[in-house]
């Protein structure tokens, strides 16, 4: 079915724009960039319709990549229902965001470069989801990381942008470290890296009680996933990644790339099911991330940072779903999240566009009238994320919370509290931006329709996306969702969301003094939260600085230059020293020389006469 065309067309688009972009007009660049993604989307649709119900995976093998001994990895693509969902989300949302970006980036320099990178990202993301083995997945995995790096650092004249890009890449590398180690173990254990083979063999394994090989594999995969999907402890790069242009934040850091970790864990579900300890680890990491990010999100003032922490928090939700065994719920949340979070970011982008680059919510306010469409679509996204029924977020979040309750009630309760906080800070952002009086000196204007169009589409999806039967569709791949439909529990979580919205309304519309006084009252805690629990600083102080200083002052200066080179040069120096002593023997005096001769003669005679032979 020519699966390879799906990623390759964006790649071709990327290459065209990269090589010739400087000489092309914006229209042509747009046509190439958007066209190629759109083509991919259409090709996905065509492929999927051609493949029918997809009960079994459809695999296409192209050519051998690495072949050594028993290791044989090929460039293989496969489509099953999980991939199909991901493909649709990636190409669909991707197309919308490309269109949006054409408007958003219209006045930026490096236009061609931006679209080239964006297309390249599509290539790698599609490779990631299409890969039929871990190594091809890894290609996409690293590739999206690269594009993320390039796009975060798009404004590379700004040091912070460069720093953020580098940070993203390196933190991801730490995750990849785990991922690659997991691959080595998988190959060692199963003799193959093909998903089909591995999952087939994994199903035959017993469930592990302690930390066995499979658990180790899963924990390492989890490490990889925490990097890519910004989970504790490797989430730190994502908020910084907001240095990139907003469409990038929407596409890469909200809708698609960051969910790669979720996809990968879901893809390895057969393995995880054999490793309950690892499952617990996934769930707990998800929960901790969800709560922590939500708390930090409460106190952020940069609109994109709020949504970034929200993304981290929502990703935590997805991990929670995976950890409690509700894989399809997790993927379901990936889908709905893609809609509403992309919308939130794009809407925020529209706001920022309207305010000519202003991102601090304290300088916004009162935009409701000036940018009504943006307001409307953002509101749609907000109710979706807040879990207000019957919008999309409600359905997916509900599925997750119920599954969590089935696993352990306390997880459910933590999830509910987080849901409340989510509703609070999202609406806080809405209220601070659109309500009240304008606090900035700008002359806001509504965005052009090339930007608003995609927003509207996404808004529709955010509202109605919950009715797409994703979990049911995924059953053949990820198994059914076991959820008792407990109305009380559903109601509780909905109420939590509504309480969050209500408090937010109280604090930021009715009585704007309250947050300030709360902040004063809780001084220390507030500072802690406002500064994101000083996690970055903690990493700097405990890991980065010691490594940098240690490398400079200990390894380079002391070990390399001092000890090793010192020894080498010392040997040289010592040799010259010996030479200095030896040449002193040549005093220049004939009689001394004669004394040497006599001494030598004496020794030689004595030795030969008395000492005898050595043998």
């Amino acid at each position: 079915m020519q699966l390879w065309l799906i990623p390759t067309i964006p790649l071709v688009g990327a290459m065209i724009n990269l090589i010739f972009g400087k000489r092309l007009s914006k229209t042509v660049i747009n046509a190439v960039a958007i066209g190629s993604v759109l083509f991919s989307f259409l090709w996905v649709l065509k492929t999927l319709s051609g493949l029918g119900s997809l009960e079994e995976a459809h695999v296409e093998r192209y050519f051998s990549w690495i072949q050594s001994g028993t290791l044989n990895v090929g460039w293989d693509f496969a489509v099953d229902r999980l991939t199909a969902v991901m493909l649709l989300v990636v190409t669909g949302v991707g197309t919308l965001i490309h269109i949006y970006a054409a408007g958003y980036m219209a006045h930026e320099s490096g236009y061609y470069r931006f679209f080239s990178y964006l297309n390249l990202f599509m290539f790698f993301m599609l490779t990631l989801v299409l890969g039929a083995n871990y190594l091809v997945l890894f290609v996409g995995w690293e590739g999206v990381g690269l594009c993320s790096y390039l796009l975060i650092g798009f404004y590379f004249l700004k040091k912070s942008a460069g720093d953020a890009g580098k940070k993203a890449f390196i933190v991801n590398r730490v995750g990849d470290f785990g991922f690659s180690l997991a691959m080595f173990l998988i190959f060692g254990l199963f003799g193959s890296l093909d998903f089909g083979t591995v999952m087939e063999k994994a199903k035959g394994l017993p469930v592990e009680a302690g930390i066995g090989a499979v658990t180790l594999i899963c924990l390492l995969l989890l490490l990889g996933a925490t990097g890519k999907s910004a989970q504790v402890p490797l989430y730190v790069w994502l908020p910084d990644a907001m240095e990139g242009p907003t469409p990038v934040s929407a596409l890469i850091h909200a809708a698609t790339m960051v969910t790669a970790g979720v996809y990968m864990v879901a893809r390895s579900s057969s393995l995880f099911l054999k490793a309950p300890l690892a499952m617990d680890a996934v769930a707990i990491i998800g929960l901790v991330t969800a709560v922590l990010a939500a708390i930090i999100g409460l106190a952020q003032n940069d609109i994109k940072k709020v949504f970034a922490y929200s993304t981290v928090s929502q990703l935590g939700y997805m991990f929670l779903a995976l950890g409690v065994g509700a894989f399809s719920a997790g993927i379901f949340h990936v889908v709905t999240h893609a809609f509403f979070k992309a919308l939130l970011f794009l809407g925020a982008g529209s706001v920022i566009h309207a305010l000519e680059g202003e991102q601090d919510m304290r300088h916004m306010g009162g935009l409701m009238k000036k940018t009504p469409v943006t307001f409307a679509v953002l509101l749609c996204a907000a109710v979706a994320i807040a879990g207000v029924p019957p919008f999309s977020g409600f359905h997916s979040k509900d599925a997750i919370l119920l599954a969590a309750y089935a696993r352990a009630p306390w997880m459910y309760w933590v999830g509910v509290v987080t849901a409340g906080m989510t509703a609070f800070y999202v609406f806080r952002a809405i209220f601070m931006t659109f309500f009240g009086k304008p606090r900035g000196h700008h002359h806001p204007h509504e965005s052009p329709w090339i930007m608003l169009g995609p927003l509207v589409v996404l808004a529709a999806l955010s509202l109605g996306g919950g009715y797409i039967p994703v979990p049911e569709y995924l059953e053949p791949v990820l198994g059914p969702l076991h959820e008792g439909h407990d109305t009380m529990l559903v109601a509780t979580s909905v109420i939590a969301g509504l309480v969050g919205i209500g408090l937010s309304f109280l604090f930021y519309v009715m009585a704007p003094r309250i947050p300030e006084s709360i902040g004063r009252a809780m001084g220390g805690v507030y500072t802690l939260v406002y500064n994101k629990f000083f996690v970055d600083e903690f990493y700097d102080a405990t890991i980065i600085d010691p490594i940098k200083d240690g490398s400079t002052s200990v390894l380079w200066h002391v070990v390399d230059q001092g000890m090793i080179d010192g020894t080498v040069n010392g040997v040289g120096h010592r040799a010259r020293g010996i030479g200095g002593v030896l040449k002193r023997l040549q005093s220049g005096y004939i009689r001394s020389y004669a004394a040497w001769v006599v001494l030598g003669a004496l020794v030689v005679i004595a030795a030969i006469s008395f000492a005898g032979g050595l043998h």
Binding site: R591, S592, A594, L602, S609
Partner: protein
């Protein structure tokens, strides 16, 4: 009688040699050396080396030593100046080295040479000029001829090093 002669001239030779070593004026040393040579000539006779004894006196003590004395006179070489010896090696190691050296050699000779073979004057009669001459011009004709090259070199050397202009 042989023994007394040996002891007498051996003592003389050693005393002269010591004098050579301890005298600071080269002329005294040269004269001491002649004394040594003369004593040795007597010992050569005792050992039956008549021809050598003669050559020792005529050529060695006579011609060669005259050359030495001549040069000493020519250069007007006075007594050595008393100055601090700068050859560390020679100063520090000299005496123990020499004592060790002599002890070693003497020990080897004492322990390894047969003590029975006595030197009796006149028992060896082939040391005359005739025998020497025959040997020189038969078995040793080649070294003999080659020494002529040596003499030639010595002449050239003296010429090269001593003449005024090249």
């Amino acid at each position: 009688m042989d023994a007394i002669l040996f002891l007498l001239f051996a003592t003389l030779a050693v005393i002269a040699a010591i004098n050579l070593v301890v005298q600071t004026h080269p002329i005294s040393s040269a004269l001491s050396l002649i004394g040594v040579m003369a004593s040795l000539a007597v010992l050569y006779l005792l050992l039956g080396a008549e021809f050598l004894a003669a050559v020792q006196l005529v050529v060695y003590a006579g011609a060669i030593m005259v050359l030495f004395v001549f040069v000493i006179m020519l250069l007007n070489a006075g007594a050595e100046k008393r100055q601090h010896s700068r050859s560390m090696m020679a100063t520090v190691l000299g005496v123990p080295l020499l004592a060790g050296f002599l002890a070693l050699i003497a020990y080897l000779i004492r322990t390894n040479m047969p003590k029975t073979s006595q030197v009796v004057f006149g028992s060896f009669k082939q040391g005359g000029p005739q025998d020497i001459g025959r040997a020189l011009f038969t078995s040793y004709v080649l070294p003999f001829e080659v020494t002529s090259v040596l003499i030639l070199i010595a002449i050239i050397g003296a010429v090269v090093l001593a003449r005024k202009e090249i």
